[in-house]
């Protein structure tokens, strides 16, 4: 018989379970669980095991007190369950896709208008985007966790029916989104090029202002880059109208990507991309080595972007080909 004055393993276990339960069921569950444990201990000692070992085995057969408590309380052991998970995922994706570009655009525009240095704009934009993204994820998750906990049987949307199936095929949807992003990219590139020329965000030590890119580029190369971006947009648009991405599209995509990247990289390598004032400013503020590093960075980014674009085009053509062959 257990000494009523000492706290036994069984007592400690029962306490560990019931302290996680709501007030009203605590004493009842405690009594029942204690009685059940005692029953099991009696049964085990009857088969020849020591009382201490029997108590240990009995407690261990019940397992983690937190899990047992959750089982008693009918509490779900997840944050967001199957009921609401898809809505959560869709909403989060939608919000991130809309809010982050808007914020980035606003910050970049503000930075350009305030004539901040390009590096400063980049750092601030990145830091803010990170903070915004974290906040979005956190608060959306919290709201859904609350819904899951306090209203687990509600549907957060209307019931799915056949009308919800995309009116356009999924391939179409990706084509539409790539059309939109190509258009947006074209607008951003053109606007950025024009704005940086007139806003003249680079401020030299003696107070004179200058654009980010070498103004000499305006005679040929900048209009060329704008034209290439426009050509890419036309390419995506034509593929969209045709409804299918074929091999020719992939090839032309690679050609335009190269047509953009190759002169860009060459100009950057020859230090002809940035305005002389900007380069002078960078060397003054830091040193020539940093200028070299920045140049390499710009070149690397341009190459990676071009490769990514090309590979994406090829993959899309392959996918379209495969789905056509299998149909």
């Amino acid at each position: 018989m257990t000494d009523p004055r000492t706290v036994t393993l069984a007592d400690r276990y029962v306490q560990a379970v019931v302290r996680r339960l709501p007030e009203r069921s605590r004493s009842d569950v405690a009594r029942e669980l204690r009685a059940l444990l005692d029953d099991e201990v009696d049964a085990r000692t009857a088969s020849g095991v020591t009382a201490e070992q029997a108590e240990r085995d009995a407690v261990e057969s019940l397992g983690d007190p937190a899990r047992l408590a959750a089982s008693y309380a009918n509490r779900p052991l997840h944050l967001i369950g199957p009921e609401h998970f898809l809505e959560w995922a869709r909403l989060l994706r939608l919000l991130l896709a809309i809010v982050l570009p808007c914020v980035a655009g606003a910050l970049i525009l503000a930075g350009l208008l305030e004539n901040a240095a390009a590096g400063e704009i980049a750092i601030e934009t990145f830091a803010t985007l990170l903070a915004v993204a974290v906040h979005l994820c956190f608060w959306v998750t919290v709201v859904f966790a609350m819904i899951e906990r306090f209203a687990p049987n509600t549907h957060t949307g209307e019931a799915w029916n056949a009308d919800h199936l995309d009116a356009v095929e999924p391939d179409r949807v990706t084509q539409r989104s790539s059309l939109v992003s190509a258009a947006v990219w074209f607008v951003i590139v053109t606007t950025a090029l024009v704005v940086q020329h007139f806003a003249e965000p680079v401020i030299a030590a003696d107070g004179t202002r200058a654009p980010v890119l070498d103004p000499a580029l305006w005679t040929w190369w900048l209009p060329y880059f704008i034209a290439i971006s426009f050509a890419e947009l036309v390419l995506v648009f034509v593929a969209y109208r045709r409804g299918r991405w074929n091999l020719m599209d992939a090839v032309l995509n690679i050609v335009t990507a190269a047509a953009f990247a190759v002169p860009f990289v060459v100009l950057a390598a020859r230090q002809q991309l940035a305005s002389p004032e900007l380069m002078r400013l960078i060397v003054e503020v830091t040193d020539a080595e940093v200028l070299g590093i920045l140049t390499s960075l710009v070149i690397a980014v341009a190459i990676v972007a071009a490769l990514w674009d090309s590979v994406d085009g090829v993959l899309r053509a392959a996918r379209a080909y495969r789905s056509r062959v299998s149909n």
Partner: protein
């Protein structure tokens, strides 16, 4: 748990067996407790009958069935320490027979499928 695949046949078997057994514990408990019994005794009784269930699954289940009105409980204070025993309510007994009937039909259907296969 749902990620088991043929890479781990033992785990795969365990997963599917668990799925199959999940429903039977309720029927088994309701049928067994037509004769009033204590929690741990029920556990042993079911094991002896061939229904293996963990204590940490059974005990909360008994409370749940009680709140659903399928079981009734009482504390026996006659012995040296109080013990709680459960008994199947009339509702519980009716449901147990419905579930048992369903289980039998399912087993018959499976037998027919199995025999149909080998025919």
């Amino acid at each position: 748990m749902s990620r088991a695949s043929t890479d781990d046949p033992i785990a795969l078997e365990a997963v599917h067996l668990q799925e199959l057994r999940r429903g039977t514990v309720v029927v088994a408990s309701l049928l067994s407790l037509r004769v009033p019994g204590y929690g741990y005794a029920l556990l042993e009784h079911l094991a002896a009958a061939g229904i293996d269930v963990d204590a940490n699954t059974l005990y909360p289940l008994l409370r749940r069935l009680e709140t659903q009105g399928l079981l009734e409980s009482e504390w026996n204070t006659d012995e040296s320490r109080p013990r709680k025993f459960y008994r199947t309510s009339p509702e519980g007994e009716r449901l147990a027979l419905v579930l048992l009937d369903d289980a039998r039909s399912t087993l018959d259907a499976l037998t027919r499928l199995a025999e149909g296969e080998s025919a």
